[in-house]
């Protein structure tokens, strides 16, 4: 399959490089998902509580204050 040790080494380095690349990409995606994500089941509970607070008037919309 491989004619020389150099080819073996080259292939191994390529595999490691690609593996590292994939690992880094997944790490970054994981970080982005943790930081900024769509609502999952756990979040839905919190959103339900927030909506309840809005419905009963516990929290009201923030009002922007601007100079006259």
């Amino acid at each position: 399959m491989f004619d020389s040790f150099g080819d073996v080494l080259g292939g191994a380095v390529a595999v490691v490089a690609i593996g590292y690349l994939v690992f880094e990409i997944e790490q970054k995606r994981k970080k982005l998902r943790t930081l900024f994500n769509v609502i999952n089941a756990d979040d839905a509970v919190m959103f339900g509580q927030l909506e309840d607070m809005v419905a009963i008037g516990v929290i009201i919309p923030h009002h922007r204050t601007v100079a006259a």
Binding site: L21, E24, I25, K28, R29, L32, R33, T34, L35, F36, N37, V38, I39, D42, D43, A44, V45, M46, F47, G48, Q49, L50, E51, M53, V54, A55, I56, G57, V58, I59, I60, P61, H62, H63, R64, T65, V66, A67, A68
Partner: protein
């Protein structure tokens, strides 16, 4: 200003206006007679009294010939209003249970800032500024911050007005410290992730009641990262207000899924690319 203070002031004005109106001519007090015949329930009285107050306030004071019957009725209403205005705690509790009351109190300008005006950004409170758009809100934005001494909190507090200005079609609900702590105690896994910006998509329907996304600013260490994320949030929410599939956009644009996302990440500029997208 609290809802209690607002209601107390309104009730006081109502009482004063009604007392003054007892000196008006009978033919001009026809509207007051209507007010005097309001139901006796506290809430209904409040609804009924606020409207005649506007009418009575513009009546000329020089008109004489007070009607004793009307005066007696006015006094009676004033006495009925007074007990509901005196206990501040009870009115505050009422404000917590009546959304309209809470919104009304929020729309009242703060006494400490006479040179500033409050712009009602929520379509629920009606347009209060020329720049208020008529668009329906797509999102409800919640800001949860329990008050950690964290760079992200500082960045968020410094830029909340700008975020509000950029997203003024959508109401922003900023939870205070106690509310945030109470919410986090119910959702313990989120402790330490705050400040959290949670965006609820109001177009959600069907079996999925809650659609939207959230930003955990508290996971970012530096001010620069937090500011970048905040900018990313503002850009995303503005550019995807009309999105048909918001969650797919979140995954594609923010999670960098797919080959193009991988290339952007490999390029080492995911943040910058997000900002320029």
């Amino acid at each position: 200003m609290t809802a209690a203070a607002t209601r107390t002031g309104t009730s006081g004005r109502a009482k004063h206006a009604l007392s003054a109106s007892s000196k008006a001519a009978p033919e001009q007090d026809a509207a007051e007679e209507t007010a005097a015949s309001q139901p006796e329930g506290a809430d209904e009285q409040r609804e009924g009294v606020d409207e005649p107050t506007e009418t009575v306030a513009v009546q000329p004071e020089s008109v004489d010939g007070p009607t004793e019957v009307i005066a007696a009725q006015s006094e009676s209403i004033a006495e009925q209003i007074e007990p509901s205005a005196a206990p501040v705690e009870s009115v505050a509790a009422l404000g917590e249970s009546i959304p309209e009351l809470a919104e009304a109190s929020a729309a009242t300008p703060k006494a400490g800032a006479p040179e500033a005006k409050t712009v009602a950004a929520s379509p629920e409170t009606g347009p209060a500024s020329p720049d208020t758009r008529d668009e329906k809100p797509r999102f409800r934005i919640f800001v949860i911050d329990s008050g950690w001494n964290h760079p992200a909190s500082k960045v968020l507090n410094e830029n909340i007005e700008l975020i509000h200005a950029l997203t003024h079609e959508d109401p922003i609900y900023v939870l205070d410290r106690d509310q945030s702590v109470a919410l986090l105690r119910k959702n313990k896994r989120l402790i330490g992730h705050d400040p959290i910006i949670a965006v609820h998509d109001l177009t959600a329907s069907g079996f999925r009641k809650h659609l939207g996304f959230r930003l955990h600013l508290g996971l970012l260490d530096g001010e620069a990262d937090a500011l970048s994320a905040l900018k990313m949030f503002a850009r995303f929410i503005n550019t995807h207000r009309e999105s048909q599939n918001l969650e797919a956009d979140v995954r594609r644009k923010l999670h960098k899924q797919g080959m193009s996302g991988a290339i952007e990440i490999v390029g080492g500029a995911a943040h910058h690319v997000l900002m320029e997208a």
